[in-house]
């Protein structure tokens, strides 16, 4: 038996150790707090109430990630059975249970952007703010990695919203960060294509000198990655070639489109290096030879190219008519681009498109270089895409917002747009609507060869009625706007 004094001593010891526990806790608690999911918002709480009991118990008793994984697998099942609406609440729960699962943010945002489609496969654009909010939440929870910044910039601002400046901002940030090994958590270099896409983005917004710098930076980075050889099986000589060919082509295009002979010289230097390599493709060798001769000739005659400086009358004509309630016909003409426009272009030196086309038999000869698209957007008159502070997939079902594009073929475009079949997507509750139909040389579906004639910024474009130089400062675009009444719709 222990004596009373020893017992008191032991009790005292217990008290001291409890104080010690409190002190250790004060060190560990703050670290632990950082790892916790934030307090669930109202929607998450509502969702948790709907969860089977065992899920709730498991999620609050330390098996959060197991539950998150199980729910995510369930989402996969829903996807394959077409139960798309069921996926988004799961995304919400999984990101709450495991706020560091990058895949859930990217897949969830993609799902919101692309998978809620009408009968004509047009996605419901009202989900885009939710998609962006989800990605921004992901970035907040996972700062310091490239993935979500790139996803936000490339997929959302660039492809979906065509807000190229915002896309550029995001991709600049993405290029500041590395990635992470998904198993060990070790830092791994971000894929080299992220740096390349930033260069393309600079080009898209017309910051050519920044694009040139970025191509050089991307190339240096690839060289370093090849030097390190650390599990980077996808980086090799071809990655360097991609940088070289793109930078070389950027220089040559600056020369052909705007007459920059210094850029021509630099582009040729790069192509010489590419052409002199043992395994150089025949088209690269041929392009280098032809461009060298062209450069020498132009230099001798002081005749710089000016492909994108020759005015081109777009002759933009557009009509939007109601064929039936909520069914419309979009029709029009645009002078992009007759084959004859390529006849004397400097870029022909390397493409030979016009020459090859002329050699074809009459029935196969192209009269136009098709491929441009005309974009259209129909929204409630006062519609402004909301910027959500926090992720919520509950959309305003009274709003109508829809956009898409029409393919231009033979200088004309025409399409029947049926918005009558999906009343949930297109409620048409407003009294007035805004219709915008436009073409920009920046848009992702404006091919390089169209830009070869009109320039990156549409410098060559002229049009009597629809030329717009104010909507996008520094750019020339074609824009048709009209206010529609309910009677124009219903």
């Amino acid at each position: 038996m222990i004596s009373d004094s020893n017992r008191k001593l032991l009790i005292g010891l217990v008290v001291v150790m409890l104080i010690g526990i409190g002190i250790v806790q004060s060190y560990v608690d703050p670290i632990q707090l950082k790892m916790m999911p934030r307090d669930p918002n109202k929607e998450t709480r509502e969702l948790m109430v709907q969860l089977p009991g065992q899920f709730i118990v498991a999620s609050v008793t330390g098996f959060k990630e197991v539950i998150a994984g199980a729910l995510w697998i369930r989402a996969d099942t829903f996807f394959h059975t077409g139960q798309y609406q069921a996926i988004i609440p799961i995304v919400r729960l999984v990101t709450w249970l495991d706020p560091h699962n990058i895949d859930v943010y990217t897949t969830g945002a993609w799902h919101l952007d692309y998978n809620f489609v009408d009968y004509a496969q047009m996605s419901d654009k009202r989900y885009i703010p939710a998609s962006i909010a989800l990605l921004k939440e992901g970035i907040k929870n996972n700062p310091g990695i490239w993935d979500l910044w790139f996803e936000l910039g490339w997929t959302h601002y660039n492809k979906k919203l065509q807000d190229y400046e915002k896309a550029l901002e995001c991709m600049e940030i993405a290029c500041k960060y590395d990635g992470v090994d998904p198993n060990t958590g070790q830092r791994v270099p971000r894929p080299e294509y992220v740096d390349r896409m930033l260069a393309h983005q600079y080009e898209k917004v017309g910051r050519f000198q920044d694009a040139i710098k970025q191509w050089k930076k991307a190339r240096r980075r690839v060289e370093q990655m090849i030097g390190k050889k650390k599990n980077l099986s996808y980086v090799d000589q071809s990655s360097l070639d991609v940088c070289d060919r793109n930078l070389g082509m950027l220089y040559l295009r600056l020369a052909y489109r705007y007459g920059d002979m210094d850029a021509y010289k630099k582009g040729l230097e790069i192509y010489r290096r590419l052409a002199n390599r043992k395994e150089a493709p025949a088209d690269v060798k041929q392009a280098y030879e032809n461009a060298s001769k062209d450069y020498a000739r132009r230099l001798a005659t002081n005749n710089p190219p000016h492909d994108a400086l020759k005015p081109l009358d777009a002759g933009f004509e557009v009509s939007w008519t109601k064929a039936a309630p909520k069914v419309f016909i979009i029709k029009g003409k645009i002078n992009l681009c007759p084959a004859s426009e390529y006849k004397d272009l400097a870029v022909e030196t390397i493409t030979h498109w016009y020459r090859d086309n002329e050699k074809l038999p009459p029935e196969r000869k192209a009269l136009w270089r098709d491929g441009a698209r005309i974009r259209w957007m129909l929204t409630d008159y006062d519609y402004k895409m909301p910027e959500l502070e926090t992720f919520s997939w509950k959309i305003d079902t009274t709003k109508t917002v829809v956009w898409d594009s029409v393919y231009v073929s033979g200088g004309t475009f025409s399409e029947r747009i049926d918005l009558s079949r999906d009343t949930e997507f297109y409620p048409f509750k407003a009294n007035k609507y805004k219709l915008t139909i436009w073409f920009t040389p920046q848009q992702p579906d404006c091919p390089d060869y169209i830009q070869d004639r009109i320039g990156w910024k549409g410098e060559a474009l002229t049009d009597k009625r629809y030329l717009d130089t104010t909507s996008m400062p520094g750019f020339k675009i074609l824009k048709y706007e009209r206010i529609l009444d309910k009677k124009d719709i219903m």
């Binding site: 038996m1 222990i2 017992r7 032991l10 009790i11 010891l13 217990v14 150790m17 010690g20 526990i21 409190g22 250790v24 806790q25 560990v28 608690d29 670290i31 632990q32 790892m35 916790m36 609050v60 008793t61 330390g62 098996f63 959060k64 990630e65 197991v66 994984g69 697998i73 989402a75 996969d76 394959h80 495991d98 560091h100 699962n101 895949d103 990217t106 897949t107 993609w110 952007d113 929870n141 996972n142 996803e151 490339w154 997929t155 990635g179 090994d181 998904p182 198993n183 060990t184 958590g185 070790q186 791994v188 894929p191 294509y193 896409m197 599990n231 980077l232 099986s233 996808y234 980086v235």
Partner: protein, 286 residues
């Protein structure tokens, strides 16, 4: 020496228990089965095995936690009452064995048994994660970005942090064993089982008690109550490092340092429980 003899006997007894063997075998079997998680998510925007490995890790750690809990509680609840029921305690205590030696020996035996079980599960778990990651690749592009030229990147094979994950699981059940042993001094096994379960559930919600203890709108009494609960009840959630293991880049810079801090916490709490167990057992009439 006496303590070690008691510990060895306790380990021998525990390892012979069929129920514990079944927990172990089932857990190991399920961990191995998790290897079949292959390209589970076909709708994911990310290609490759990263998601599968994440699932294997979370599943494995979850299973180890469940098995560890069952083993430590099922073994712990009967440590003292069984000796009393079988009357073997009279034989032991009639020898020159001090009561505190008996308690410490029993506890040492329990945590050694736990070490063997968690160790075996841990070895299988780490082997499974290494096997899964061997030669696995992950997509460097998100398919939604529509970039088709991006290649696949090999992922790291061995994540040393998984060792810390296993250690953490062991530490938390070392604490739980101490709690259950303390209760077993004066509670019946059935009551003790539910007490162990209750303490574990409150402990696993440590972050919740912490939030309640610092809730702005709560009154002083409520805050104080939860503050005491937060300190007195072992915070088992501190040992839950699954998320850190799955996403180590976003959390703790040094897993070893965090483990050391939590290890100290576990040690202090264990000592408190053991001291209390000794005090109570000294006064217990057997």
């Amino acid at each position: 020496m006496i303590i070690w003899s008691i510990a060895k006997t306790t380990v021998g007894d525990a390892l012979r228990k069929k129920v514990l063997q079944i927990f172990l075998v089932v857990a190991i079997g399920l961990i191995i089965i998790s290897l079949s998680f292959s390209q589970t998510l076909s709708f994911s925007t990310r290609e490759g095995s990263a998601t599968d490995i994440m699932l294997v890790k979370s599943f494995g750690l979850g299973l180890m936690a469940v098995a560890g809990w069952l083993i430590s509680v099922v073994m712990g609840v009967s440590l003292i009452p069984q000796e009393i029921e079988r009357r073997t305690i009279y034989t032991i205590l009639s020898k020159p064995v001090k009561r505190y030696e008996f308690i410490i020996g029993k506890y040492l035996g329990a945590i050694l048994t736990l070490a063997i079980n968690v160790g075996l599960m841990g070895i299988v778990f780490i082997a499974v994660t290494v096997f899964k990651a061997w030669g696995a690749e992950t997509g460097t592009a998100t398919t939604s970005a529509g970039i088709t030229e991006a290649g696949m990147q090999k992922i790291g094979v061995f994540d040393p942090n998984t060792i810390w994950g296993v250690v953490m699981i062991y530490l938390q059940f070392m604490v739980l064993s101490a709690v259950v042993l303390f209760f077993s001094v004066f509670l019946t096994p059935t009551v003790n089982f539910f007490m162990g379960l209750g303490v574990y559930i409150i402990g696993i919600m440590g972050s919740m008690t912490q939030s309640l203890a610092s809730a702005e709108k709560a009154n002083a009494f409520v805050k104080m109550f939860y503050k005491v609960v937060h300190i007195v009840v072992p915070n088992f959630d501190k040992f839950q490092v699954t998320n850190q293991l799955l996403h180590p880049e976003t959390h703790i810079t040094s897993m070893a340092k965090y483990t050391a801090q939590v290890g100290l916490y576990a040690l202090l709490y264990t000592l408190v429980m053991m001291t209390l167990a000794v005090i109570f057992f000294e006064r217990k009439e057997v």
